[in-house]
Amino acid sequence: MDRLPRGRHGLSPEFVARNQRQRLISALILTLADVGYQKTTVSMIGRRAAVSKSDFYKHFESKDECFLAAYDHAIDRLRGAVIEACAKVDGEAWPARVRAGIVALLGLLSAEPALAAILLAEGLRAGRGIYDRYQAAVESFVPLLRRGAPEPPGGGEVPPATDEAVVGGIASLLSRRAIAGEAAGLAALTPDVLEFALTPHLGTEAARRIISAG
């Protein structure tokens, strides 16, 4: 997010404050990706955001509070991108919606490795409170996957914990890649992740047919 013009600009104080807060959040996410959670300081965040230290403390009591806001912001962006991508193909069948969601998920994380770092790697090292947010965020993707999912070919229902396992498994895989510093390559895992997500409901063969059909 860009700095605002200096001097008299006629912008409302609320607008300026919101803009500053947003800049601080973006700066924390970028700094965290560069130097890790421990080494990130309020000064570094302020410098990157071009916001003075005293203005920082108008928005946040501490680095940790800024961090929590940044974590929530990062989750909202990622989930928002997935929901939007799914909504665009709302009229289509379940596999098309799952594909759209996964393409959006992996696409955004690949394009912005700093987002992957705070959500899935370095951010998770910031203590219990953040880890609980991570887990709640992962669980919030389960209803998105489940909505409109067909019954498996063998009949019966896909048991409830299976979708949890699928979503948790994907999160674990992405986290491993992000920790290894490979977030930029996550988009390449799209076929793998899609097959993993579709298989419990469609079976392996049908899932692969859909994936190879593109």
Partner: protein, 201 residues
Amino acid sequence: MTTARPQLPPEFVAAHKRRRMVDAMAELCAEQGYEATKIADVVRTAHVARKTLYDNFSGKEELFLAAFDTTVADGDAAVAEACESLGDDTWEERAEAVLRALLEFVAAHPAQARLCLVEAPAAGATSAARYDAAVETYIEHLRRAAPPGGGRPATLEEALVGGTLWVVQRQVRNGGAEEALDLLPELLEFVISPYRGVGKR
């Protein structure tokens, strides 16, 4: 004549004390979480002198890591024992035996399971790395045990182990460790279904 305590070998006493401290750490973490657990709590719960604790461990983190390592080793031993009794079983039967042993271990040791699955990933960088390393060995095990066959995603075992642990930690976190075995049918299907064709159900 004074009634002397029976003389136990010093190594036995030392190992027993160590075990008590490790167990106390797990119990306290289960009750109040890692961050809130203090050395003073451990000393009181384990009935050892503060000096004894510091003779054995540099501090809270090292004690926590020892509790993690001990539990993982115990869990691995339980799984290995379950595998020993197997003969020419199919891969699916072996997978069931491993999963059952793991879930039974969780059910029998709720506090230790919580320490490993719920607390360890969030208890600092060293602990998280230790957790990740344990996950890595489970992935390697599954890769070696999985039936041969082409065309499967190279990341399948990572996602299956991650997903299984996710569901088990969720059960433990929600206070259902004792009922972990209820998850067996579902998790077994989750793990083995990607390895068989749909038509062969």
